[in-house]
């Protein structure tokens, strides 16, 4: 009976994993659809990044089981990672300035 119950639990968990996997596949398909839309490059980037972030969230929470860890650990991982990722976005205005050829900031 204990073996049957553990087998049933294992099947339920694999069912959940399968559901998350199918969501990830669907989101990947959405990214491919976005790639062929007739939209501005910046819009395309925003939409694709949004989908990628949702995919990453699903993978981290369910495939990597971060949601089952202690809350302090989850916060530590998320806050440190997101902080550094946001801090990397500092120089985008410099990249657009490169296109016009201006070597130095005018201010």
């Amino acid at each position: 009976m204990a073996t049957e119950e553990s087998h049933k639990n294992r099947n339920n968990e694999i069912g959940k994993d399968l559901a998350v996997y199918l969501c990830l596949l669907a989101l990947a398909a959405v990214q491919f659809v976005i790639a062929y839309q007739n939209i501005d490059a910046s819009q395309m980037l925003i939409r694709m990044l949004t989908v990628a972030i949702v995919q990453a969230g699903l993978a981290v929470m369910f495939f990597m089981h971060l949601w089952t860890e202690k809350r302090g650990f989850v916060l530590c991982v998320l806050i440190s990672t997101i902080f550094v990722l946001l801090a990397m976005q500092y120089g985008w205005t410099d990249s657009t300035r490169m296109v016009t050829g201006a070597p130095f900031s005018k201010s």
Partner: protein, 207 residues
């Protein structure tokens, strides 16, 4: 007391007298710290790629077909699922099934690598290298091969680890915790690919 259990179960440290902050096995914590560090590395590479792409007037868009990329994405996502199934089997004590699914994951990783190298050979045949490409700025070749090469290196390392850990798990040297820690790494490799595909491939599709 095994090393894996050192920080489990609210045991106080003999050095500090404090309980564990995260209640997580040492190996798993080490893998998470590595994953966080590697996330920064890949993010830096992708941001640098975005920077040069944004700042280049003649950035090429040479990818005509998405079939290969779609297939590679499917294989890598499926390998994450097979890794999870292997972990569930390991947790349930089914050693044979856990080993089988771990080897299937490794095989998927090898298939991904083969498709990737085949794509590279096709692009090199068209004239694209680290320092040159026939369609525009040479930075395109440099950034493409650097980012995809870094990812492929991670996949290759993961495949080797899957084979070694799988064999040692089967022989009884490793346990289900080790399969879980390796699974974390493999899911991370898949997660990075979810960002590489739209930024490096899909944004450079020829319309």
């Amino acid at each position: 007391m095994t090393e894996a259990n050192l920080t489990m179960g609210g045991q106080e440290s003999s050095l500090t007298g404090l309980g564990p902050a995260f209640s997580i096995p040492t190996k798993k914590l080490a893998m998470w710290l590595f994953i966080i560090a590697d996330t920064m590395t890949f993010a830096a590479c992708l941001v640098a790629y975005g920077f040069v792409r944004n700042g280049s007037a003649n950035w090429p868009r040479p990818f005509h077909s998405i079939t290969n990329v779609a297939l590679m994405t499917f294989i890598l996502l499926t390998s994450s699922l097979t890794m999870l199934i292997g972990l569930r089997a390991a947790r349930a004590g089914d050693k044979a099934a856990a080993f089988r699914w771990t080897m299937i994951t490794a095989a998927a990783g090898i298939l991904f690598g083969v498709l990737h190298v085949r794509e590279w050979i096709g692009l090199i045949g068209e004239g694209m290298t680290l320092f040159h490409n026939p369609w525009g700025t040479p930075l395109f070749g440099a950034s493409f091969f650097s980012i995809t090469g870094l990812h492929l290196t991670h996949v290759t390392g993961g495949v080797i680890a899957l084979i070694v850990v799988g064999i040692r798990y089967k022989s009884g040297r490793y346990n289900a915790d080790d399969i879980e820690v390796l699974g974390l790494y493999w899911h991370f490799v898949d997660l990075v690919w979810m960002f590489v595909v739209p930024l490096v491939y899909l944004l450079n599709l020829a319309h």
